[in-house]
Each structure stands twice: as structure tokens, then as C-alpha cells.
């Protein structure tokens, strides 16, 4: 049996492997992107891979083990630091959400003098070099006579976290229907009640996204923490830095793997969440 299109008109051979014009661009950019992703991920994947290696010296694969994770769980210094990080990140998240959301609403709903300047001021903590923020807060705390500890750490972290919540909430407020609030007020709600029962639920996706962001930023923060934490409020990144300085250590690989895993989960969760929101 011969192929059915034996007598079909002979078309000039379409050389699909030789793309032209925009297509060649696409192939080039695609290859480039694959290369950059390899650059971004190979070091991370090697880190994860060797965290399961049953040998202190890195290169040779000896056998699969989870003993480094076990050692991690017995490391009381790290667990203590982890708890500190958790406390600071949780309080920072709550404060950032409260300040960021209410400020975004006030800025949207009411007119203030110098509103433009204020809008610019919000961006400063987001883009200001962390060293400057850490150093200037240290100077402030020392001169206020505030001892360095949880309080100073939480203040410092909230300062650079809440603008992220604010900006996210502001973006969502752009799309709000003013009739929503008007209807609530017409039906006899007080402005506060209308905000709480109508506006906040509408803003929820932005608030949750902002909260995730604030938590991650605070949990990972090293530089500002260096200047604003006290001896009893050492967070995980400070300990990790100390370990990295000392040198290679499979326990650190295990800890890094946990960090990477948690981050990946958070990113995927927020991505899935934002996709559900838009549908």
C-alpha cells in the first residue's frame, strides 16, 4: 500500500528546521532562556542533590541519606533561631497587613495635603539600600535608648514590608466599583462597618498576596537584621550567614534545601491562588 498523497501536487519542501524571520528570533531567544534557567537552577539543584549524600566531602556520591536533616533537627541553636525568625516574621506580617491595608484605603478614599509626596515616600523603604536602612534605624534606636531586640527587629522589618502590602492593595483598589461602598452606606452601614464587611473581603486576594510577601521578606532578611537585632533575637539568616562563612557543611545543604522547598511551595501557592482569583 502506498501513501494516499502519492499524487498530490509537489509542494516546495518546507524546511521546518530552518526557521525564518521572527521564528529564528524565537529559537534564539528560547535557547538563550534555557541557558539562563540552567545558570539559575544548576547551582540550586546541586545543593539539593548533595544534601542527600552520605559523605562529608562533596563530590563523590556515596549513598542516599537523610542524616543531615536529622542532625539539623537536633541543632538547638538553629531551632532557637528558627523560632525567633518565625516570631518576627509573623508579627511583622500582621503589622504590615494592618498598616498597609488601612493606609491604602485611606489614601484611596480620602484626600490629603501632600498626597503626591506621600505616594513617593512609600517607595523609599522598598528601594532604599538595605545597609542605609539598617544603619539609620540603628542610630535611631540607640538615640531613643531602645535596647536592640525583638521590638527593634519587628519595627525595622515592618518598615520595609508594609509598603509592599500597601502597593498591592492599592493596585486592587483601582479596580473597585465605588457603588459597592455606596450601597453599603445606603443600607445603613457605618463607614467602618462598610470597610470591614464589604471592602476588606473584596481586597482579600491582594491582602493575602501581600502577607505572603511580607512574611517571606521578613523571614529571609539578613542585612537590616544585622544592625537591628540583639543577642537574644538572633534570627535564622544570621545563623546561616555564620555557617556559610565557616565553609562547606552538608547540614547547611540540608537547611538550604528546606529553604528552597518552602520558597517554591510559597511561590506555587501564591501563583495558583492568583490564578483562581482572576477566574
Amino acid at each position: 500500500m502506498t501513501s494516499s498523497n502519492e499524487f498530490a501536487p509537489v509542494l516546495p519542501a518546507r524546511r521546518w528546521w530552518l526557521p525564518r524571520g521572527p521564528a529564528i528570533q524565537r529559537v534564539f531567544f528560547g535557547t538563550w532562556t534555557a541557558g539562563v534557567f540552567a545558570f539559575l537552577y544548576i547551582p540550586i539543584l546541586l545543593l539539593v542533590f548533595y544534601s542527600f549524600n552520605d559523605s562529608k566531602l562533596n563530590l563523590q556520591w556515596v549513598g542516599f541519606t537523610t542524616k543531615w536533616y536529622g542532625l539539623l533537627l537536633q541543632n538547638e541553636v538553629l531551632i532557637r533561631a528558627f523560632q525567633n525568625s518565625l516570631i518576627v516574621a509573623c508579627v511583622t506580617t500582621v503589622l504590615s497587613v494592618v498598616i498597609g491595608t488601612s493606609a491604602a484605603w485611606l489614601l484611596y478614599r480620602y484626600r490629603f495635603p501632600a498626597q503626591q509626596t506621600l505616594g513617593l515616600l512609600i517607595f523609599i523603604p522598598m528601594v532604599m539600600p538595605e545597609v542605609l536602612m539598617g544603619v539609620s534605624l540603628l542610630v535611631l534606636f540607640v538615640n531613643l535608648g531602645l535596647p536592640l531586640g525583638y521590638t527593634t527587629l519587628i519595627i525595622a522589618h515592618t518598615t520595609f514590608c508594609f509598603p509592599f502590602v500597601l502597593v498591592g492593595v492599592q493596585a486592587r483598589l483601582q479596580g473597585i466599583d465605588p457603588a459597592l461602598e455606596e450601597a453599603a452606606l445606603d443600607l445603613g452601614a457605618t463607614p467602618l462597618k462598610a470597610f470591614w464587611l464589604v471592602i476588606v473581603p473584596y481586597l482579600m486576594p491582594a491582602i493575602i498576596a501581600g502577607a505572603l510577601m511580607a512574611f517571606t521578606l521578613s523571614f529571609d532578611e539578613y542585612i537590616v537584621t544585622v544592625f537591628t537585632s540583639g543577642a537574644d533575637s538572633q534570627t535564622l539568616p544570621l545563623k546561616v550567614y555564620g555557617m556559610v562563612r565557616v565553609g562547606l557543611n552538608p547540614q547547611l545543604n540540608a537547611l538550604s534545601t528546606l529553604f528552597i522547598g518552602a520558597t517554591a511551595l510559597l511561590v506555587i501557592a501564591s501563583q495558583v491562588f492568583s490564578r483562581n482569583k482572576s477566574t
Binding site: 537552577y41 562533596n58 523609599i124
Partner: protein, 266 residues
């Protein structure tokens, strides 16, 4: 919120400026007198060189990030919607992963007993481990690795907004890809490029942890020096003066970028 910003952003910054004009006593406490000595000292050749090196590292980092990141942002921004979500997620994961973890990943590759040296010696390419770490190369590599997602994301945002009909029209009118890119794509994605540069360049000047870990402290950057003055050296006024210099660079870049954006709007 305004109170918070004033108290914890504006006031501390002003205090930093005030302290930079003060002196310190032998115990490292700040004495409130007026002196410009810190600035005279800051403009010494030694410190200017450190500032210069920091700016140079940051400049290299920005250029490399732009060259590596632009095609990636363009590719992702022009992909179909489903692929786009997945790829941008792949950029977000390193973006959100602690930079200490990512720096450690490179240290475990580059150090004396690291993976690269182990591989090279076991294949008998080199007999002695090579000191990849603690070199300017390692510092820039660490900075690029850390800041690359900061360049990709804003450029991606402006590529995503590109109007496809403009590009198609240009092709229909016979423009070649290079011309379409230079005259349509590049100008339209300029806001993203400007934002990316701002997000990479200024933080890269001030960054210290990565540079200490990858550079080993041999060629300290301005961020490292400021940190040292506030911690080990206990010379807050001088550290503050260097901080104010950094602040000036920061404000100048910010002003430049807003000016850039305003020109864009018109």
C-alpha cells in the same frame, strides 16, 4: 502610616546625616559637635577607591544582568499565556529564595574543596585546586546570580504590555527583525529596562554580605566598610558619612529614574 514612615524612615535618615557631622570619643560614643572631619577623611583616596570599586562591580553586574535577562524577559513575555505563567514562576522561585542560600550554592561549587575543583582534579585537568572563590570574578558572579531576577521581572512586565499589532505591522511593512527590535520593541520596553537598572544597580553598590562571602573581604565594597564602621570599628560618625555618600548616590539614581519615567509619559 505617615507617622510610621516619618519616624522610621525620614527621622533616622536625618539622624544619619546629623551624626555624620559629629565626632566620637575614645569609647566609640557619639559626641554632638559640628565637624566636617569625617567627610574630609571620606574623600581620602583610599575610601574613594573603595567606592569606585563598588560602583564598578555594580555597573558590571547591571550590564551582565541586562544582557542575560533581556532576551529571557522578552521570550517569556511573548510566550503563550500558559507557558508564560510557568516560566515566570521559575523566575520567581530564585527571586524569593534567601540570597544566603543562593550564595552558598555558588560557594559549594567554587571553593577550594568545592565541586568544580573536585571535578577538575579528579579528571586530572589540574593538579592543584584553583582559587575561584575570593576573586573579583566570584564577587560579580555572586551579584549577577542574586540580582538577575530583579532585572527579568520588570522588563517582563513591559514586554507583556507590548501591542502585538505594532510588531506585526512593522514586519508587514518589510522591516527586518533587527530593525523591529531597535525601533519598536526596545523603545517600548524602556520603562522596564529603567526599572530593572534601578533595582539592580543601587542595591548592588550597597550590597555587602554577598561581596564578603564571595570576595573574602580582600577587596571590600562600600557596604562592607559601612558595616565595619558601625560594628567592629565602632566609628559611627565616619560610617554615617560614608552612608550619606551612598545616600546621595541613591537619591540621584532615584531622581534620574523618575525623570526618565516622566519623559516616558509625555
Amino acid at each position: 502610616m505617615l507617622g510610621w514612615l516619618l519616624l522610621f524612615v525620614v527621622v533616622p535618615t536625618l539622624m544619619l546625616v546629623v551624626i555624620s557631622f559629629c565626632e566620637r570619643d575614645s569609647l566609640g560614643r557619639v559626641i554632638f559637635t559640628f565637624s566636617t572631619e569625617n567627610y574630609v577623611r571620606a574623600f581620602d583616596w583610599m575610601w574613594l577607591k573603595i567606592l569606585g570599586i563598588s560602583v564598578w562591580y555594580a555597573f558590571l553586574t547591571t550590564v551582565i544582568c541586562l544582557l542575560l535577562g533581556y532576551p529571557v524577559a522578552y521570550f517569556i513575555g511573548r510566550s503563550s499565556e500558559r507557558v508564560r505563567g510557568l516560566l515566570i514562576m521559575l523566575v520567581m522561585i530564585p527571586f524569593w529564595t534567601s540570597f544566603l542560600v543562593r550564595t552558598y550554592a555558588w560557594i559549594s561549587i567554587l571553593s577550594q574543596e568545592g565541586l568544580l575543583n573536585a571535578a577538575l582534579t579528579s579528571m586530572r585537568i589540574v593538579s592543584e585546586p584553583i582559587g575561584f572563590l575570593y576573586t573579583p570574578f566570584a564577587v560579580v558572579l555572586g551579584l549577577v546570580y542574586n540580582f538577575l531576577p530583579f532585572m527579568i521581572l520588570p522588563i517582563y512586565t513591559s514586554v507583556e504590555k507590548l501591542d502585538n499589532s505594532l510588531i506585526e505591522a512593522a514586519y508587514d511593512l518589510g522591516a527586518r527583525p533587527a530593525r523591529v527590535f531597535g525601533q519598536i520593541v526596545l523603545p517600548l520596553t524602556q520603562p522596564g529596562i529603567a526599572a530593572g537598572i534601578l533595582l539592580v544597580f543601587v542595591p548592588a553598590i550597597a550590597m555587602f554580605a554577598i561581596t564578603t562571602l564571595m570576595g573574602g573581604g580582600t577587596n571590600p565594597t562600600i557596604g562592607e566598610v559601612i558595616q565595619n564602621q558601625f560594628t567592629k570599628a565602632r566609628n559611627q560618625p565616619f560610617g554615617a558619612a560614608l552612608g550619606v555618600l551612598l545616600l546621595v548616590i541613591f537619591i540621584f539614581s532615584l531622581w534620574l529614574s523618575t525623570k526618565f519615567r516622566r519623559a516616558e509619559d509625555q
